[in-house]
């Protein structure tokens, strides 16, 4: 292993990770301290069996219930894309810990293939999403440079993650070095980009679910 690869796998990742955590803590602190949560004084409305707690749980679980919202129910392909893309992100991030700290896990050829399929599928979805963002007039109208860049960054990162999964330097280290440098960049860029949505997701879903549960709107009823 070259010094550059070692540095990329370890020091660079650790610094990037610490940076990301520090910025995330700062952002969450800012979010919680700068903005006060609104409360509800009125008595609950709607069906008697709905509560704030149920609403919050339903809201959080919404991500795993494509049948709950019309937007996901009527677009199953979009939901599949969402699932594949985010599974790919999780696996590709996990890979950045596995390679330096638990490389023997990748000795299993079948696991390597599985991870490559998962990340490869996410890469494909990334491409599809990019095409959609560019070609669909609605998506184009709502997209910012950050949207395009974040999606491109992740798609390219997936590509290198697929190559990095076997953790083999037999044909050179460039793909591993690229993957780890991109991971580090990704970690440092995320807090300032739309990719940080997952940091706020639990909060937005929490407050929306709390209100909708208290008002008897959640769980959603439709016909």
């Amino acid at each position: 292993m070259s010094d550059l690869l070692h540095f990329s796998e370890h020091t660079l990742q650790e610094v990037a990770l610490v940076f990301m955590v520090v910025v995330y803590i700062a952002r969450i602190t800012w979010f919680l301290r700068r903005f006060k949560a609104g409360g509800e004084r009125q008595a609950p409305t709607g069906r008697m069996n709905t509560t704030k707690a149920k609403g919050i749980l339903y809201s959080w679980a919404n991500i795993a219930m494509p049948w709950a919202m019309e937007s996901t129910r009527t677009k199953p392909l979009m939901y599949v894309q969402f699932a594949v893309f985010h599974i790919g992100v999780t696996v590709a991030i996990a890979l950045s810990f596995v390679i330096p700290y638990w490389p023997t896990l990748l000795d299993s050829p079948s696991l390597v293939v599985l991870l490559q399929i998962l990340i490869g599928a996410a890469c494909l979805v990334g491409l599809v999403r990019l095409v959609r963002r560019v070609s669909n007039p609605y998506m184009r109208a709502i997209s910012s440079p950050d949207d395009y860049f974040s999606l491109t960054l992740l798609t390219v990162w997936f590509f290198f993650a697929v190559l990095a999964v076997p953790n083999s330097a037999a044909n050179g280290e460039w793909h591993l070095i690229t993957y780890f440098i991109m991971t580090a960049f990704f970690l440092m860029y995320v807090p300032f980009s739309k990719i940080s949505h997952y940091l706020y997701y639990p909060f937005t879903r929490y407050y929306f679910g709390k209100s909708m549960g208290y008002r008897g709107v959640y769980p959603l009823q439709h016909g």
Partner: protein, 590 residues
């Protein structure tokens, strides 16, 4: 060379006040959108305007979100172009924002419940409205209605004497109908179980719904009253985003109920009124309400379940469908009870699809009915609702919202669906079985003989019917003539003025959209003409947005108002009210 952009006073205030309005829920919604586009086709504006991305919820949301990013978010402050952050600098910028937040969204919350991230666009759109209103940037109708609610205490500027007079009139109608002089609409009675609050629209355009509610309370043997002040349960603060107005209006009602020591505040069928009074008001006013509050839908259902009233569904045989008000369904969870009630009082109830929390807006929500400048846009977006209605095959659409009644009436007329719009209170009242009446022999209908013409309710009255639709003229004239009136006809505004001056009728029924001179102008001329000082005018229109043509003028307002399509009963009730016949009859009684 860097150049600092100057900001207008109003724009400065909008930015400054935005910081005060942001709470964690709104800030979360500002940050968390990933522009995934999943919510786009949940919006009726999008569906009715294919290919126009400016109606897309995230696009509209970004017009507000850019301010947040520019002034409150880290990345937007440093590299605004990267995340499309931006600000407002001129009053023109604020006007553009007004066009989006008032003119392209009804705050129906359909995109909010369809957002995978939990972004509640409707809530921060309302916040943006409030910011604009705070600097005086708003549609004219919003300003007019808000002013009425601040100054007169209700959003339609109904004066106390008119309100009380209408209650008296409805009380008399009910006494006649039930042949029971003890039936009452009590006002300011203390220590009642129920204090009933209404929408000023009921006083002005739909007094029958007050009588229907009173009939139900009477049949249930309820101890109830209506307040003489603070009776308006609607709240334009919800639409304008003005929390101060919202809190003030809600508190006025809460304090009146407390003063009367009422146990439950019953809110008549109105989506935004229910949401404002029941759910948002205590928060706007920071007021802990010491009594219970419920929708009249729940009250009526409770009466039936408790056996306090009996209903006969065979009295409502026409096929009906139900339109869920956005505020009831998506903000208050009120969607099962109306259906339960409908199934008890109607023989043929058909669902509209989608429904409940996924129903589409009537397109008149969010105060849209008061913003006439956006009417063409609203009616175009209503094609979605029109298709929904049409597919049910129902003859009538029932809704628990007065705003939706107006919105749907407009949709039905515009798309020529030929449906009626009604409310649960009307259906329940119609299905009501009043035991006492069974024992009373039913009188044979009186056939008007020529010599009995004096006994007809409009006998001796001269009425001028002004409308450019021949069918409408014939219908109105026939009904009025059958009830004893002498009817003259005019088919345009100039002819109406000429006939009014020549015939000097007791009453003019005036369509607001006719060929010839501007009807508003003709109305003003008539009002200023000393020879027509006694002329009563009842506006009959299918275009409620044209009301402002009349109401904006600094002359006496019309004495009556009826929405098209007109039915015989409503026409006669309003005409008699305008001519004050009910009062005269009482005086003439031995």
């Amino acid at each position: 060379m860097s150049k600092t952009k100057t900001r207008s006073h109003k724009a400065e205030k909008v930015i400054e006040r935005m910081g005060e309005k942001l709470n964690r829920q709104i800030a979360g919604s500002m940050i968390a959108c990933v522009h995934c586009g999943m919510c786009i086709d949940s919006c009726h504006y999008v569906l009715a305007n294919p290919g126009d991305p400016t109606y897309a919820p995230p696009y509209k949301a970004d017009r507000v979100r850019k301010l947040f990013k520019k002034h409150f978010d880290w990345t937007g402050r440093v590299i605004p172009w990267w995340v499309k952050a931006g600000s407002v600098y001129t009053d023109e910028d604020l006007e553009e924002l007004k066009d989006i937040v008032f003119g392209k969204c009804t705050n129906c919350r359909r995109c909010s419940i369809n957002c995978p991230m939990g972004v509640d666009f409707a809530t921060f759109n309302r916040m943006a409205r409030g910011l604009l209103v705070s600097v005086g940037v708003m549609p004219e109708g919003v300003a007019v209605v808000s002013k009425d609610q601040w100054e007169i205490g209700n959003q339609m500027g109904v004066l106390k004497e008119d309100y009380l007079e209408t209650l008296e009139w409805m009380e008399e109608e009910l006494q006649d109908e039930l042949e029971d002089p003890d039936v009452a609409i009590p006002v300011d009675k203390t220590d009642c179980e129920v204090v009933y609050s209404i929408n000023p629209r009921e006083v002005k355009y739909d007094p029958r719904s007050i009588a229907d509610a009173a009939k139900i309370f009477h049949a249930a043997g309820e101890s109830w009253t209506m307040p003489s002040e603070g009776w308006d349960m609607t709240n334009f603060g919800l639409f304008s985003g003005d929390d101060l107005l919202g809190g003030s209006v809600a508190q006025r009602l809460y304090e009146k109920v407390s003063e009367l020591r009422g146990k439950t505040l019953v809110i008549s069928e109105c989506g935004h009124g229910y949401r404002s009074t029941r759910c948002e008001g205590p928060n706007w006013a920071k007021y802990d309400v010491p009594f219970e509050m419920e929708s009249s839908v729940l009250t009526m259902l409770r009466y039936i379940k408790e056996g306090r009233i009996k209903v006969d569904k065979s009295r409502n045989t026409a096929p009906v469908t139900f339109h869920d008000s956005c505020n009831n369904a998506r903000s208050c969870g009120l969607f099962e009870e109306p259906r339960e009630l409908l199934n008890l009082v109607c023989e043929d109830f058909r669902e509209m699809y989608p429904n409940r929390t996924e129903n589409y807006c009537c397109t008149g929500g969010g105060g849209a009915m008061s913003m006439s400048e956006y009417t063409p846009r609203r009616l175009k977006s209503a094609s979605v609702k029109a298709n929904q209605l049409k597919e049910t095959g129902a003859e009538a659409v029932v809704t628990s919202c007065h705003n939706c009644v107006d919105g749907l009436t407009d949709v039905i007329r515009h798309y020529e669906l030929g449906m009626e719009v009604t409310q649960l209170v009307n259906l329940v009242a119609n299905a009501l079985v009043i035991e006492e009446k069974v024992a009373v022999p039913v009188e044979e209908p009186v056939v008007a003989e020529p010599e009995e013409a004096e006994a007809l309710p409009l006998a001796g009255r001269t009425i001028l019917v002004a409308d450019d639709e021949p069918d409408q003229v014939e219908f109105l004239a026939t009904v009025l003539e059958d009830n004893g009136a002498t009817v003259y006809r005019a088919s345009n505004s100039d002819e109406a003025l000429e006939q009014a001056r020549r015939v000097k009728p007791d009453l003019l029924t005036l369509d607001l959209h006719m060929p010839g001179r501007d009807v508003g102008e003709v109305f003003e001329i008539m009002r200023k003409d000393p020879d027509l000082e006694d002329l009563k005018i009842c506006v009959i229109t299918g275009r409620p947005e044209l009301r402002k043509l009349i109401y904006d003028r600094s002359v006496r307002r019309p004495e009556g108002y009826v929405d098209k399509p007109v039915d015989e009963e409503r026409l006669l009730l309003n005409v008699r009210k305008v001519l004050e016949l009910a009062h005269e009859h009482e005086e003439a009684a031995p």
